[in-house]
Subunit: 329 residues, 4 copies
Amino acid sequence: MSNWLETSYMARKGVARGKAGKRHELTVEKQGKYHYVYGPYADPVLAIEPGDIVIAETHDAFEGAIKTEQDMPSKTLHMPFVNPQNGPIAVRGAEKGDVLCVHIHSIKPRGPQPVGTTALIPEFGGLVATGNTALLNPPLPERVKKMEVTEAGIKFNSKITLPYEPFIGTLGVSPEIEAVSSLQPDYWGGNMDLPDVAPGAVVYFPVHHKDAYLYLGDCHGTQGDGELCGVAVEMPSTTTVQVDLIKNWQIAWPRLETEKFIMAIGSTRPMEDAARIAYKELIHWMVADYGFDQYEAYFLLTQAGKVRLGNMVDPKYTLGASILKNYLG
Amino acid sequence: MSNWLETSYMARKGVARGKAGKRHELTVEKQGKYHYVYGPYADPVLAIEPGDIVIAETHDAFEGAIKTEQDMPSKTLHMPFVNPQNGPIAVRGAEKGDVLCVHIHSIKPRGPQPVGTTALIPEFGGLVATGNTALLNPPLPERVKKMEVTEAGIKFNSKITLPYEPFIGTLGVSPEIEAVSSLQPDYWGGNMDLPDVAPGAVVYFPVHHKDAYLYLGDCHGTQGDGELCGVAVEMPSTTTVQVDLIKNWQIAWPRLETEKFIMAIGSTRPMEDAARIAYKELIHWMVADYGFDQYEAYFLLTQAGKVRLGNMVDPKYTLGASILKNYLG
Amino acid sequence: MSNWLETSYMARKGVARGKAGKRHELTVEKQGKYHYVYGPYADPVLAIEPGDIVIAETHDAFEGAIKTEQDMPSKTLHMPFVNPQNGPIAVRGAEKGDVLCVHIHSIKPRGPQPVGTTALIPEFGGLVATGNTALLNPPLPERVKKMEVTEAGIKFNSKITLPYEPFIGTLGVSPEIEAVSSLQPDYWGGNMDLPDVAPGAVVYFPVHHKDAYLYLGDCHGTQGDGELCGVAVEMPSTTTVQVDLIKNWQIAWPRLETEKFIMAIGSTRPMEDAARIAYKELIHWMVADYGFDQYEAYFLLTQAGKVRLGNMVDPKYTLGASILKNYLG
Amino acid sequence: MSNWLETSYMARKGVARGKAGKRHELTVEKQGKYHYVYGPYADPVLAIEPGDIVIAETHDAFEGAIKTEQDMPSKTLHMPFVNPQNGPIAVRGAEKGDVLCVHIHSIKPRGPQPVGTTALIPEFGGLVATGNTALLNPPLPERVKKMEVTEAGIKFNSKITLPYEPFIGTLGVSPEIEAVSSLQPDYWGGNMDLPDVAPGAVVYFPVHHKDAYLYLGDCHGTQGDGELCGVAVEMPSTTTVQVDLIKNWQIAWPRLETEKFIMAIGSTRPMEDAARIAYKELIHWMVADYGFDQYEAYFLLTQAGKVRLGNMVDPKYTLGASILKNYLG
């Protein structure tokens, strides 16, 4: 546990005090059937205690179906069976009204190169007509790009190598009675596609169902703000997370903490409403835990708040609003 | 079957040819546990054949918990257990790729007067800050209004009596693998709150799950366009619908037919996207079934299309776009 | 003055009491240069007294440049010189804080047949990518449709004749210091494209500039809700309006009155915000002039409010929210 | 001229090759009347040549009317006379179809301390009901905060000092025939409130009117992403900019360049449409000037694009989309 982590919510309030427990391997074989919804109706694939570590073998968002640049999405993908998720992982002791902590240790690409995939998928993406923004314009051509992804970098093309900046695209817990597509982000997490959900960060989710039912998948080798075409550097991964549990912490939306900042995350449409959710939740946090007057927090975020656009392509758009810890006293 | 019905899609293409079959009473007792999600994970409460008629005793959206004008919503309602639904009703022979037809025969208020309820619910409604449009403004006061509702009219207050114009607020089928709150409308129907879903109309839903799994509830004695405060004249009802099945009709969103017009229904945010969905789907319909050139249909709707705003308060907004049948040749 | 007009705001509160005054012909020759902005910087083409009648020869939105179905918009139109307006007409006595009343007497098609034009214009319309909804999809083809328009009907094509239901697409007054494109609707009126702005109605605009500076143009032979492709049945017209002035009536947005209903009109993006503006303004009206408690008005509109979608294609979307007068006591 | 500037568009393509020309002092006295619209109807206060430098004394957005924390905005501000602008500055040789370059040299606070002001203004801000998002909720209280602002830092309160990171909130050129409130950002620039418009950057604006008519004002001592409450650290300033002119460069929206990145800026509602504008314009730029295939640019921005939220409070929301120059070859 690095120094700052000792001061994290996870370490200060978690049942396991941020201390690492048992390690669980969640291999492809152990996972067996992957899941396409975040919900309470599947049986847990694993039951763990607060503090335990899970090493999960995630699939890419296409479950490996796009193997070459000739594999067209419209032929290989069958909705709604996309964005496969590991889990659900039951976390013992978690109840509605608690918060599940997920501290991300590492994300490594997994499988034969080129392991990374991006693509133009019909009626999907930030700059095309979609099922929601339903227009009469002709579609773009389908196109697939495969990329070699290692921890040394991502070969975007012969000229451009991008830094390896991996994160978990889809991460969260089960709603209470709903089971919602893993393509959608919401108050339980899900497909937020927010690059801050990266190694080193601790992410906090409101628990709605007994044992929380943690899901994860959809790791990205890197991604720009907004995930513009809808498909980041998708890759299968070996992802290691440490889980903890904070009892009786009422939060409405996911939150995130790093050494430098705290962030609240909102997901909805239109995008300004996602920004409103994130900033309002961040104000609530500053008032509840850092002694701010509500309007003083509002003023401070006006002058020093930061916004990270996660996705502008999913069924709901995701933004994170953050403030540096050094302004929080 | 009235004359126009003989020319309806239901009568021309339905498995039962629009002919009425067996009658099934779905009383409160028979229903037992009501449902709060549209999904495939509940066991059917009834299995019927195409053509069969169901007489359902629906609860109001509050499951009867608001009995007097002193029963405050924040005390009596427990999210997500609101908007209880009858069903699921298995319709034999229905498969993904088919269309379920629901012909609404009648909707009658049920139970002791005053049977109608509207209310101001905190953080809910079209003219207040909500969980999505998350703002810092103080909330409105809670307020409940009970109204006597009979087929002769609705006593809104001592001066105003509104006509009884009932419709089904929430109606649709199960998604394939999702189970989504009955508060939400979407491509499977759900909480559309569209006043055209009324006695006399036939509503068409794309089937996604074996046996369709029909749900219904949330009947309204009347409602304005948009359901402005979020709560129409909510009432328990005895609602009679006739169900039919059209095999192999691929539609993307709910459709509706009356003697005078055809309508396509879209639900999403922001509202312009709901309008785009509805109008685009209506163009598809005119091209596929009425021989229109796509652009001629676009031109005709520009000059003669009608828009009905269902709700501007639910997790997704609903609009119907329609065209008079006498322009369809 | 028909009976109901005697009870209109115009007749009850207007300086001229709704009585017709002098008639002014505003021919093409007298107008001379047409205008492409609503603003205070142009010199009045006419000065009138409250009660006076203006018979204006309006151009179509293309200033007559699309004469045949071979005249492609991208060749004939030169932004921002589209949607030419008659005016400004100075109304003596009007000051900031007053309301200008425009009672529409008649709208007649003007000029040689086919007098009506609709078109697909690149990057314009409700179901295509635009300058605002900026996407990478290829555009639709350009297409022009000319139609014979008479008061007997509109020959949409060889099979379909649409009823002649004319209205004024663009109507309003000058902002105080801004001069804004006649393509845009806003709180001063402008390009609302709302079919209720039709013969028989009285429209009310908040005055922001001395003498009000009335502009009008862009008459439509008919139009569907939303003006879907962006181009209604555009036509040059002879339009007759009677103008009156209500002193010291503070309204924030345009309002409209017919025999049957009162309506408030909002224009903005996204569309739900236009609906919020319209409904909120209507509540203000009901409270200020009809003795409603604010929440009772909110409840009544929830059950009996009507929404008319004007345009979903202009720089701001326009909706009217209305309530029947017989509910107003 | 620092090294990178020699490679800037301004230096490579500008009429003055980025070389500094004559210096012009635009003091409060010389400016005289400040302006509240961006438009062509005011007389130029200054005429300069490409390359010339302007040292402008700007007012704060309240024209100095809020002098103490007791000066309530609703009493001191009179719409639409807010956000006063210096200018218009005629730039000789500029014509429609050219691009005006503004290289920001420095921004210094001006006047007696406390020189900085932020405030809660009724019906204004990102987390309150407004004229557009028109709701019935009660307003927040008014509140004013005055802050000492020096180049050493901003005394936010007794505990928090914010870094001095000044930028120009409102900057741009005149539309062709419109005159639009200086509160609004659009394709000509205006009230973008984008923190990247800071010393060191070069900003590019499409010219629409002869001599461009440059306006500027509304400097901020610092600001968070989105300018959450609507009022940054507003301050009067002495701002120095160098102006250049690129002939025949057709751009649709403002662009910005620093040593590290290029950025395209979009402003509209809803926010996703502003993001679409910015990203699409950036793709156009990469294709036109850096030899990218359109889809390869789309893919690259998906993986490496950055989004900066300027404002979520003005009549249109502003976002900048950028890409690092080291990916551009």
